[in-house]
Symmetry: C2
Subunit: 114 residues, 2 copies
């Protein structure tokens, strides 16, 4: 029932809120969580239909927040590509559920004061 009545309490909103992510940071992280592998910002831009500058800004934030890992792939023709993957999906999921659990406990305590 709560699923239908409380649209703003959907999975995506809660994860965004707990991890303090912008809409595009969340979209990138979700994509990386659902797709194993490493992606360039160009790949991500195409897959998510987001402009490259927005992807670059968001992936930088995700990297700063320690949610994605960057690696470098040297190209046979010279130069290199920067690749991104999600850092530790299970750890991120655990972090989210732990924080949600903590919040539920606080909620129950407050409600018992009613």
């Amino acid at each position: 029932m709560i699923d239908f009545a409380c649209k703003k309490f959907d999975l995506d909103e809660v994860v965004k809120c707990i991890l303090m992510l912008s809409k595009s940071e969340f979209r990138i992280l979700k994509f990386l969580a659902e797709h194993d592998g490493k992606f360039t910002t160009e790949n991500l831009s195409k897959k998510l239909n987001l402009d490259k500058s927005s992807i670059q800004r968001s992936i930088k934030k995700l990297h700063e927040k320690n949610l994605v890992v960057r690696s470098q792939a040297n190209q046979s023709v010279g130069g290199y590509l920067l690749l991104y993957r999600i850092k530790d999906k299970n750890l991120i999921k655990k972090m989210v559920t732990d924080m949600l659990g903590g919040w539920v406990e606080t909620f129950k305590k407050k409600l018992s004061g009613w």
Copy 2:
């Protein structure tokens, strides 16, 4: 942490959302939860600084939703007053925590699919 980052997930918002209450329905219910006793719509209007028509509309809804009980107090000068109190505070709290618990389970299931 989630308390600060996710303002929209505060106690009031969650209760409103779970019980599907409007802002003034919620304010009345919260007041009745925090103040034992019976109140007329006029009392409530003064206490909550809400106009009487809004109180009347909201208390009617709360009554329909089975969250408040109405009783009648005969007046020595003739006539009667309609009084309202919260129906069963503990049952309401239990309902809210049960629904929240169900939602958390759904949330965890969905998240594990990430």
